[in-house]
Amino acid sequence: MTSTTLPTAPTRSYKLSFFGTLRSEFLKFRTLATNWVMLLLTIAIMIGMSAAYATALNRFYQRALETQAALEAGGPSPQVRPEYSFTVDQVLDMARSIGGVGMMFGSMLIASIAVVFIGAEYATRQIHSTMTAVPRRSSIYISKLLVLSVWSFLVGVISAVAGYFVAQPILDPGISEQLSVGTPTVLNWLGVGLYCLLMSWMGLGFGAILRNNAGGIVMVVVLMFISTIVFGLLAETANWVADFQPYLPINLGETMTTVGLPEDTDINNLEAGIWLGVWALVPALLGWFRFTFTDAKG
């Protein structure tokens, strides 16, 4: 600070732009080491889950073969608890969607990152710098949303693809030889990406509403897991509770990424995706409202 002379002013006229804001948010996202660590962790968890699930599928496959053989021989089917009893076709469909089995856990990390991407701005008062440079708050919010959307979609798809291929050598040759990368598998990968994308919206929304890292993450967990448990416990008490259960976000996520849903299913993959989109859009919109129209105090 010894020099008191200032270099000559930038002569060109500079203007605030949406593209600039988007670049700024991307720069802010990629210059935090935490985000890279979380990225690796997310991919590692999702690949690990796919690999672990492959061994479970091998057992299901063996049982399915035994059941099939017994039925063909006209004998009674072996005693297996019904939730572990699948047909060969069902096991094959599950194997087609093996890339996405870690989605529920991986997407929690993604949602956390999304919460922190906005919550930490308030916690560190970075938000003052951000909003001083860009007073058009919708631009900031939409930029954050776009950066997170692209990133979480890619992380979801990459993890699913990687998980799928890592699981192949672990799977029983009987299964893997019947698999090929076709439309159902690719749709499953895209579904996982979309699920991660929607979770990032939810995270960003709750982060913006609560302006608090822990609070935002807790809200996502409550909505995704706690609500599912509570509805599960109460399912017997009223019909509407049971009717509503398939529309809980985590169940919608399952439905959306399931390969080989029966034709006459209540909610098909696309419908599940749309309903899940509503679940994610509501917090994202409320967050946008709070972010844009209320004072920037942490």
């Binding site: 560190t124 909003m131 001083t132």
Partner: protein, 323 residues
């Protein structure tokens, strides 16, 4: 130019800022003074559009902050030190701001050099001291080479060299036609930096004038007189019913014009070896003005000596010690 008109901001029932108006003209440094909780930072946040005023307006070059086409080149602001993510490097922080306006990355490096942060710019902000954070905040404020500069407590935590740098920077910016609004609790620093003063207390304007006019508010027609025959001279003053107080061992604070005192000395045949008109410091005027306005008043220490008027001479302090 910054213009604040009838600005009011209420939090619940309490008005943090209550109908204040003032202008920060181009080419001048305006000091913004007030006790803690007086509403300085709130006013600055309102100017920057971070909060919405309950009523009134805060305008930047005649425009609302949020409708500025190019905020960074219109206003550079330092609101609080370390208003930045600790996990990012100083350079990344500045670039993230620069890129919003399409400013080149080299501009970030320029302000890093100006603020003397070249050696630490690639380190994470987490490890920065308060002073380094303050410098980075100033760097961010200068990024767009703005027409208006708002600095909230910029010298907080700076080393003496940094304090002088900020003073010179403010003067330099004003000489280039920039309007500068600067708040500080360092009165001596402010008296050397500011052209104009805005003083607020409990959300209201207490004074809004040039530095000179502000200092003239003080009742400063007192004169310090030193003489070896103090009692004699005191009697003479009493005869003419001139008010005075005894200070130290040989001094009198006399409430009369200098010339009259000197004349009286000659007439009485008393040798006056010091006749010094007392000039109030910014601090004194400020303390008098805000005494009743402070939100958080400090308790008095037991046995606290009543502060004596500084004489401005080295002998004064020596005499003090002898007491």
């Amino acid at each position: 130019m910054l213009e604040v008109r009838n600005l009011t901001k209420q939090y619940g029932n309490q008005a943090a800022v209550d109908g204040i108006s003032f202008t920060v003209p181009d080419g001048r440094v305006t000091g913004f003074l007030g006790p803690n909780g007086a509403g300085k930072s709130t006013t600055m946040r309102l100017l920057l559009g971070l909060e919405k005023p309950t009523s009134g307006t805060a305008l930047i070059d005649g425009k609302n902050y949020r409708s500025l086409p190019s905020p960074l080149t219109s206003v550079g602001a330092l609101l609080d030190a370390k208003a930045m993510h600790p996990g990012r490097s100083g350079r990344a922080h500045l670039r993230s701001l620069a890129v919003t306006h399409g400013l080149p990355a080299s501009r970030a490096d320029e302000v890093i050099e100006m603020t003397g942060l070249t050696n630490v710019a690639s380190k994470k902000v987490r490890g920065f001291s308060l002073g380094m954070g303050q410098r980075l905040g100033i760097a961010a404020a200068l990024l767009g080479n703005p027409q208006n500069v708002i600095l909230d407590e910029p010298v907080n935590g700076l080393d003496p060299e940094g304090v002088i740098w900020v003073r010179n920077l403010a003067r330099h910016l004003a000489s280039q036609g920039t309007s500068v609004l600067i708040s500080s609790h360092l009165m001596s620093e402010m008296s050397q930096t500011a052209d104009d003063l805005v003083v607020i207390g409990r959300g209201r304007i207490l004074a809004n004038s040039s530095m000179q006019d502000f200092l003239a508010l003080a009742n400063n027609d007192r004169v310090l007189v030193r003489t070896d025959e103090r009692d004699d001279f005191a009697r003479r003053l009493k005869e003419r019913s001139v008010a005075f107080d005894a200070v130290e061992t040989d001094g009198l604070l006399v409430q009369a014009p200098t010339r009259d005192i000197a004349r009286l000395g000659v007439d009485a045949g008393v040798l006056l070896h010091e006749i010094i008109p007392q000039v109030a410091t910014l601090e004194e005027v400020y303390m008098n003005m805000t005494r009743d306005e402070v939100e958080y008043q400090s308790g008095e220490f037991a046995g606290q000596p009543t502060p004596e008027i500084a004489t401005g001479t080295p002998w004064g302090t020596t005499a003090d010690k002898e007491n």
